[in-house]
Amino acid sequence: MDLWRLSIREVAGLLAAREIGAVELTRAMLERARDLDAELKSFILLEPESALRMADAAQQLIDDGKAGPLTGVPLGVKDIFCVPGSPTTCASRILQGFVPFYHSTVTERLEQAGAVFLGRTNMDEFAMGSSTENSSRGISANPWDTSKVPGGSSGGSASAVSACQCFASLGTDTGGSIRQPASLCGIAGLKPTYGRISRYGIVAYASSLDQAGPLARSVADVAIVLQAIAGRDPKDATTADVPVPDYLAACDGNIRGLRIGIPEEYFAEGLDPQVEQQVRQAIDVLAEQGAQVQPVSLPHTEYSIASYYIIATAECSSNLARYDGVRYGLRAEGRDLLETYTATRSQGFGREVKRRIMLGTFVLSSGYYDAYYKKAQQVRTLIRNDFLKAFERVDLLATPTSPSVAFGIGERIEDPLAMYLSDVYTTSVNLAGLPGLSLPCGFADNLPVGLQLIGRPFDEAALLKTGEAYQRSTDHHLKLPPAAQSSGGRE
């Protein structure tokens, strides 16, 4: 049996019934991940020792009859989550050698649930990028076409799930970094509402936008992982004390009467016509299932990229100030303090990170604050109000996730503006703090197309319900990329 093909629910069922052992499963997945990674480079680091230890603990839970839906299930963890004893580098040279002794709340909850972490997945350095080309640890490939990027910044997390190197993975999304790679790799990825998931122990990029979330092959699997990590955390003051519903129960496939808004601004110039066609067909499928579809308007959409790149860079310029070579990570010794700072940061950060630190420093500087940062915050409020107004009439919105399918490795890396436009449909959702789900809805040029569903604050359940309904009547999510099948016969 090809265990790696199974859904989380299926594999957890086999584990619970003791038809397979957790250690045996982990061993097989480690081997598969390693083999496929020669080509895909989804992982920065595979950690067989700790993975097998976790599998052992999971088996113990199973034997004690205490297994949950994720017990013994091998996952990939983006290299941005702190895990005790596990090198956490954010794919940056500046964090080389940094080994946290503390858990992020997300990984701690998953460990308690008995999940197994196979290793650290590749990403754009400090989560800044849309292609995973900004990694100091090599470029990941898209399993559907290895000459294409997997998207970013959670590109390794997306390619690993897409190629069935693990059953689900963790990503973070600041401007689209879960949804865009999920879209480009043909899997599901959820950015929860800001405040739904604790940011404690996740290396910060832009604090007011960052949010962790799951990537998985099906919407139901996304729901299972979300269930384990969602909810208020006293260690993160920005998490909200909002009850966490039963997400899997919400995935009942019934969307009769659900009102879905189609924002006209998301179907404008710049959208690949083939992508538009797939997305519109997907919306038709939802309508066939009883959803009421109607046009809505989000008039401030065109300002979202500009606002995003001001707010995110401002926050990152401050968040990344702590990497100064004094306490951990890289230190390039200079003759004095200033030289040590500049040498450390010059050598430690990559080009895109430096670009964003400089942009952010500029927009916050005295005399420019009002024109940039303050203005961007005002626009942010307008963008959020656009959404809240739309949600007076509809329950959720449906849009493309990305204006195009996966682009070629090297194609946009020299043109930051073109790269930034990859996020044109996703950044607004972060600025407004809303939940967004991307799920596969077809193919263009043999590359996956993603449908984005955007919901009301804390209404992830509506997105999952709709996504599940869609996946019950389509099979895009069941298709496997060529890279996944190439070694499929081995087990």
Binding site: C82, D236, R322, R327, Y373
Partner: protein, 478 residues
């Protein structure tokens, strides 16, 4: 030309919360370097601040005590700069929306009381401390101690209402007394838990516009503050008199030389790139919170000082000394409540009590309870013991904690009022000093005191002075 001095102070007071402002590490001073640290205050990757509510309540006390307006919402902001003792690369402070604004503190000046405006009070976290290698092996290195990182501070910014170094020092003293009364800061300038920077400028007398100011730092005592300001006044006036211009800059005070020297100019000043701290929600302080803090507010030192003068009729000097520290005022008031005459109680507390204890912190456990001190003062009033004996009784009370009547009985310290016994002593003294008797009888009445002293000495100070005088008078005149 005559010049007018304009001074404004920025006080940084460490709050006495048990744990740091954004994590649960201890705030205790003097621990081994880097033992009171955690990933949060060390600024490790992924760490987030969580606000300590006790700290806010303490800051609210300072705000209420200075009559500040407390807006319903204040906002934390990041103040960005690089320094090894600042692990996050920014300080979490408050910028355009501080916790409290528009307050005042009244101080005493030579010309009577003066109200000094308080611009704002805001919360922030303290930085760590750089230690430069002291012994040979370490000389090539600098070290950082992060124990102080994240210790809560309030910054209190005054209006430029102070017009002399004396007023500045008095304002500082008054603020220190206040925060100690409120029990929110220990006010220790040497350990750095109470710090002060000063802005000072000069302007021709009568001119409305401010002159160019300098900012003075590194003054770790009241004296230093006063000296630094005095020096700076001379320096600025000299420049102005000789037609020069003051440069806006930050200057460091050197306590050894008593002078200030330029640290950085306005051009070199940091651009702190303040922006709202995204990791913390805005701080909402509602009516209920303020009301609950109000119920914990002690009587303020200045109110108490005035009440002591008015209600208890003691002199302003006494009231000032007795209210200098809350435990002293509490003790004094307990003595009066136990029935002692207020002025007599004041004398005893200011002299004997304060001499006996090393610091007012020891007052709550002090052997001489207010009740016993009041009883002793009562015994003096009733003539049961003399004032002189009382000092012995007091010393014994301080040693043993026993009640005064028990001590006088045990030590035989009660007054000798027995006229027969006193007459006998008087006779002995008169017989032993014929020369003085002659002088007295010849009209030199001053010698009378000599006889009283001799007789008192003979009784070990226990003679009832009134009875003794009468007997001596009768016998000498006889």
């Amino acid at each position: 030309m005559s010049y007018e001095t304009v001074i404004g102070l920025e006080i940084h007071a460490q709050l006495r919360s048990a744990s740091k402002i954004f994590c649960s590490c201890s705030t205790e001073f003097g621990a081994e370097p880097n033992t009171h640290t955690c990933p949060v205050c060390l600024g490790m990757p992924g760490m987030l601040p969580v606000l300590n509510r006790e700290v806010v309540s303490m800051a609210l006390k300072a705000a209420l005590a200075t009559g500040c307006t407390i807006p319903p919402r204040s906002v934390f902001a990041r103040k960005n700069y690089f320094y090894p003792d600042l692990p996050k690369g920014f300080q979490i402070s408050q910028y355009d929306k501080p916790l409290a604004e528009f307050g005042s503190l009244t101080i005493d000046t030579g010309d009577g009381p003066k109200r000094i405006g308080i611009t704002r009070i805001h919360l922030e976290d303290d930085a760590g401390k750089n230690i430069h290698g002291e012994n040979d092996a370490d000389r090539a290195f600098s070290f950082v101690d992060f124990n102080r990182t994240g210790v809560p501070l309030i910054e209190i910014v005054s209006e430029p209402d102070l017009t002399s170094p004396e007023q500045a020092a008095e304002y500082l003293r008054e603020f220190r007394r206040l925060v100690r009364y409120l029990d929110i800061c220990d006010g220790n300038m040497e350990e750095g838990s109470f710090r002060c920077d000063a802005n000072i400028s000069m302007r021709p007398a009568g001119q409305k516009e401010f002159g160019v100011k300098t900012e003075l730092k590194n003054m770790n005592s009241f004296r230093n503050v006063q000296h630094a300001l005095e020096y700076e006044i001379h320096r600025q006036v000299d420049i102005l008199e000789s037609g020069g211009r003051i440069v806006q800059e930050t200057r460091l005070f050197n306590a050894d030389t008593g002078t200030t020297a330029s640290m950085r100019s306005k051009e070199e000043a940091h651009d702190y790139r303040y922006f709202p701290e995204p990791d913390l929600l805005p701080l909402d302080v509602d009516r209920a919170w303020i009301d609950s803090v109000k119920t914990e507010m002690p009587e303020l030192p200045r109110d108490r000082q005035q009440r002591f003068q008015k209600e208890l009729g003691i002199p302003p000097y006494d009231a000032g000394v007795l209210t200098s520290e809350k435990p002293i005022a509490d003790y004094y008031e307990a003595v009066v409540k136990a029935g002692a005459d207020p002025k007599a109680a004041s004398n005893w507390v200011m002299s004997e009590v304060l001499r006996e204890i090393a610091s007012h912190d020891q007052l709550p456990g002090f052997n001489v309870t207010p009740k016993n001190l009041a009883a002793m003062i009562g015994m003096i009033d009733s003539g049961a013991i003399t004032g002189k004996i009382a000092k012995t009784v007091f010393a014994e009370m301080a040693k043993t904690g026993d009640a005064p009547d028990k001590i006088t009985e045990r030590e035989g310290l009660s007054v000798i009022a027995d006229t027969d016994a006193l007459a006998e002593i008087a006779d002995q003294v008169i017989a032993a000093n014929p020369k003085q008797v002659e002088q007295y009888r010849a009209g030199k009445e001053k010698v009378f005191g000599f006889f009283v002293g001799q007789a008192m000495k003979a009784t070990g100070g226990k003679a009832d002075p009134k009875a003794l005088r009468e007997i001596l008078l009768t016998k000498l005149r006889g």
